[in-house]
Symmetry: C2
Subunit: 312 residues, 2 copies
């Protein structure tokens, strides 16, 4: 848990004590850290909690986080398995905020009767905006603090914040985080309308809405879409909307059509070394290492499974 012990308080550490081995480790670039990573530093995505959002432009891979939003994750899986999203569309792209998708008819006055049925899925859910701190929810703390929360760090690859006094932990709205849109009622989110953060982390949304997971590949497809000209970035004309070919749960896709990915584990000395490599850049370009990092600036490396080196 004490990854933070690896980060000295001085601005320009030349050597850093490895919290696990208690031996000095030399400064490294991120490439060096990844190059030296072991197969056990990586985990494969769980196909039962991985969504493929397929657009004409390509595939977006989303990892769900049932530890934080179990009801929402289950409801989304029910919708996906009923092919709810197939043929729906990206409806909203608000610059420096979110890209959002769902059923165009669901949100329009006078069009509700044309909205697609949610089938077996619930139309309302208990708000899963935060959850109790618990032993089974890991937390690897970042050392540099946070403007919004008492503590921030990572939990199974998700950027999270927590408040030990309140006994709560929640997923943070960093770039690429996926949430379930809702109306004013806290129970009005169902997962039938989803958004992803495409700009500066809108942390004011934290604890106000259910975050359900994170885009681990394909963010550029959602972030580079034309911005909508209507209020809140909604597309004004139906033909501006970006059609969704399909959304599938990876486990339901034939193995040959899956996108096998590995994510760097966030509870390892390798990840701690990666963070240190980003807090203090070592390449020739940087002249003044920041000595700090913000939660939403930490990259979470992903690679194709077949990139992993052969196991001994």
């Amino acid at each position: 848990m004490r990854i933070a012990a690896c980060f000295p308080a001085v601005a320009l550490p030349l050597m850093c004590m490895n919290a696990w081995a208690d031996t000095p480790v030399p400064p490294q670039t991120m490439q060096q850290v990844l190059g030296a990573s072991k197969p056990t530093d990586w985990r494969t995505l769980d196909p039962d909690n991985t969504l493929y959002l397929d657009l004409a432009a390509g595939r977006v891979v989303i990892e769900l986080a049932p530890a934080f939003a179990p009801l929402h994750a289950a409801n989304i899986k029910t919708l996906v398995r009923a092919h709810y999203f197939d043929g729906l569309a990206i409806l909203r792209v608000q610059d420096n905020f979110v890209t959002q998708w769902g059923d165009p008819a669901a949100g329009e006055a006078g069009e509700h009767d044309k909205a697609r049925s949610l089938g077996e899925a619930s139309s309302t859910l208990a708000p899963e905006f935060e959850r109790p701190i618990a032993r089974e929810v890991p937390f690897t703390r970042l050392p540099d603090g946070d403007v919004f929360a008492p503590e921030v760090g990572f939990s199974n690859g998700m950027p999270v914040a927590r408040d030990r006094r309140a006994g709560k932990i929640w997923m943070a709205h960093c770039y690429g985080m996926v949430g379930a849109g809702r109306d004013n009622a806290v129970t009005s989110g169902s997962g039938a309308e989803l958004y992803v953060v495409i700009g500066q982390a809108p942390r004011q949304l934290d604890r106000n809405i259910a975050v359900v997971g994170r885009v681990v590949q394909g963010m550029e497809l959602l972030a580079s879409l034309p911005r909508g000209g209507g209020a809140l970035g909604f597309y004004e004309k139906p033909d501006q909307r970006v059609p969704i070919k399909s959304v599938r749960l990876a486990v339901d896709v034939p193995v040959a059509d899956r996108t096998p990915l590995e994510i760097l584990r966030t509870d390892t000395p390798t990840f701690a070394a990666l963070i240190e490599s980003r807090r203090n850049r070592r390449d020739d370009w940087y002249k003044v290492p920041a000595g700090k990092i913000d939660l939403c600036n930490v990259p979470i490396p992903v690679r194709a499974t077949n990139e992993s080196r052969p196991k001994p």
Copy 2:
């Protein structure tokens, strides 16, 4: 200077003392704050320090900040007046990082002899990565701290950070900030290659490169471009590059072709009220006000000059 006095330490202030009037002000939404703003809360853009970057898709308006990067601002104006950028292109769009433009031939090995001449402009400049704190450089402090710098706030509409112990102040790499690309040598930036931040604030760049200004309108045109498939997000094929029609200094453009804009001043009680309205959202949607705000989450409102209400 003590705008921070308006922000109580408690998480949910129902009333807030106005630091200037010492009278309680009721909680307001941003729309209410802007609706109640006075003409003197706004300033018009200085046409002598405003660039129009014209693309086929529309116009990007950039405000230069000569108080922070006088040599770079002057060099960029020399380049612009020599029509240096006209017919050049956007070369690089790296997801969640930057969009960058300049001369494709300038960066390519073996192509340097095809690079466009900088004319009267300098090819190297002293690094203007930070500057001394000075009375003539205003600073309105934000109340909630910062992960990277001892203090953050605004100076003439630019997000800035400062270190009083070091006596330095610098512009911060928030969304929409424009900087002058450089190679490894700190003097190698000239303003002939410019970038704009299109994702989570890459604050590790602060004090490592010259920030020259900020996009005040048209960011969506630069942020929604297809990401480049090459290393660092460079476009791999010349026909993927986005042509620049022209870059002009506003003062050199006929008045009828200018884009007259007003920016909300950042040193006023109105701006302090706007910040408070964003720290603690008052609309029906938000259930848990953040009580905090990050430097790069603060919107800096802009409006067409003809939107300003008639003066009494």
